[in-house]
């Protein structure tokens, strides 16, 4: 079991590049889902909102994938990543996001197809398929992180839930931001902002439960403390809580008009990125126990060899 007095070993490999991918995949998937729902339930009246949501799907996930490639040690070998979907969540995830991008691209094409009569039922079917893979795109990373045996912070069923709620929220915010420029009606923007405020409440609840669970579980207590009061605390309290949740919530609930909605959207999107970063940076491997002793791991955030001094100029 873990111990409170022993510090865990912080994982240093997955940081801002992976956080950027998680964030962009969330925005793309969430915006696409919102667009599909607006299309299927809203009809012609919500066509512009649906178009914006659907259009955001492919570019966001594609740019996110570029961040993933940038993080790889050998990116030119990346074509091999399909090989083991049987056991590896990275392989499964690649299949999921490629299928999502294909369906989202077809759905995008339907909006600019010059022969509207010939699509018919395919439109609805592709929308549903795209929505399913969009949902999987958003949550599979939570399952991928949860498969990590030594990192107790991620090994919870709440993580995919948190990613899903945050993705829908940031997706709606992205639609609102672009919708202001594209001439979506005031009434629709206000409705989206109010729906997003409700989702932010739910996101606050899930985040509190996630951190509470992390604190109560002995192995992840050091991770929870690292996020709440440790090195990750500035990114968490300023980025996630203030910018990502509280300020957008009050702006969307009490404010009205383009400035309030736009500011809430920008802050909320920034908060979504900080949320992914905080979860990754908070990940620590639990201490090792054997023969009744608890052994502290090596702190890999510090340079392994402290600088012995610079070489004097010759």
């Amino acid at each position: 079991m873990g111990s409170e007095k022993l510090e865990g070993q912080v994982q240093v490999e997955w940081r801002w590049l992976i956080a950027a991918y998680l964030f962009l995949a969330g925005v793309g998937g969430g915006a696409f889902l919102t667009g599909v729902i607006a299309d299927l339930r809203g009809g012609a009246d919500w066509a512009l909102v649906s178009k914006i949501g659907v259009f955001l799907g492919v570019p966001c996930v594609l740019i996110g994938t570029l961040f993933l490639l940038a993080d790889l040690g050998r990116p030119f070998n990346a074509w091999r990543v399909w090989m083991k979907p049987g056991t590896s969540w990275i392989a499964r995830g690649t299949i999921i996001i490629v299928l999502f991008m294909i369906f989202a691209a077809i759905q995008t094409a339907f909006w600019i197809w010059p022969f509207p009569g010939s699509i018919g039922n395919a439109h609805g079917a592709i929308a549903i398929l795209g929505a399913i893979f969009g949902f999987l795109t958003v949550i599979y990373t939570g399952l991928l992180l949860g498969y990590s045996q030594p990192i107790a912070l991620w090994r919870t069923a709440l993580l995919p839930v948190l990613f899903f709620v945050s993705a829908v929220s940031t997706g709606i915010m992205a639609i609102v931001l672009i919708g202001q420029n594209q001439g979506v009606g005031e009434g629709k923007l206000a409705l989206l902002a109010h729906i997003d405020a409700l989702i932010l409440v739910f996101e606050m609840f899930v985040l509190i439960m996630f951190l509470y669970n992390a604190y109560r579980t002995l192995e992840s207590r050091f991770s929870a403390k690292r996020i709440l009061t440790g090195a990750v605390a500035p990114a968490f309290w300023l980025g996630v809580v203030a910018c990502g949740l509280l300020v957008p919530f009050f702006l969307e609930l009490l404010g009205s008009g383009a400035l309030a909605e736009g500011l809430a959207a920008v802050l909320g999107l920034f908060g979504g990125l900080c949320l992914r970063y905080s979860i990754l940076a908070g990940g620590t491997l639990d201490p090792v126990t054997a023969a009744g002793f608890e052994f502290a791991r090596v702190d890999r955030t510090k340079e392994p060899m402290p600088a012995m001094g610079k070489v004097p100029p010759s």
């Binding site: 993080d71 790889l72 040690g73 050998r74 990543v81 590896s88 498969y147 054997a290 090596v298 610079k310």
Partner: protein, 208 residues
């Protein structure tokens, strides 16, 4: 077919770090990469406190998590139970580094020197860098392989050979007559984190 494992006697280990240095020298590992590590632990309060060193290395698990999460199949298991990385298939995603319950996987983006920047590499370091880039590679995952090259020459793994307290024993777990099987049976050998289900093959003998 042999199934290789290791036994580490915690009563004999006194934390001298010879295994760490022996592994480093034999495998030319760069700074920050510790295929063999020694962790320190302490129990009790002075004057009744006890200290213990715990040498850890890749456990060459029977059901390795690192192999399961590897998306390309670069991490594979040989017939004699050693888990290896095929550096031509590895993409450097570092998922295995997150998944190993023992923290036994390492990846470096480039071969850095142990000395301050600005100094030219010494001849020994140039040799080490060449060996590292030929056999392991930068940007990919690397791990202990129970010194495959030394064993091919008939020698023992480096950490086993250099241990001054003779705390480490290497052998065939499938052979009931081998020293390692005998030690595990008679001295109550245990493994680290059996609850994660990876079935590690490095056993420890209790210190008391």
């Amino acid at each position: 077919m042999a199934r290789y494992g290791m036994v580490i006697d915690l009563k004999r280990c006194y934390g001298c770090y010879s295994c760490v240095m022996g592994c480093k020298q034999a495998n030319c590992t760069p700074p920050g990469v510790f295929w063999s590590r020694v962790l320190r632990g302490e129990m009790g309060v002075f004057p009744n406190s006890v200290r213990q060193a715990l040498p850890v290395l890749c456990n060459q698990c029977e059901e390795p998590d690192c192999m399961k999460v590897c998306p390309t199949g670069a991490t594979y298991q040989t017939d004699d139970g050693i888990v290896r990385v095929d550096k031509d298939k590895c993409i450097g995603c570092k998922y295995c580094m997150m998944a190993c319950p023992y923290g036994a996987r390492y990846s470096v983006p480039e071969y850095k020197s142990y000395f301050p920047e600005g100094l030219p590499l010494s001849d020994y370091e140039k040799h080490c860098m060449q060996v590292w880039e030929e056999k392991r590679g930068c940007g990919v995952a690397t791990k202990c392989d129970f010194c495959i090259d030394r064993r091919a020459e008939g020698r023992e793994p480096a950490c086993v050979q250099v241990c001054p307290g003779k705390a480490r024993v290497f052998g065939d777990l499938d052979d009931p007559e081998s020293e390692i099987s005998y030690l595990i049976k008679t001295k109550r050998g245990f493994v680290l984190r059996p609850e994660v289900g990876t079935e590690p093959k490095v056993y420890y003998l209790p210190p008391r």
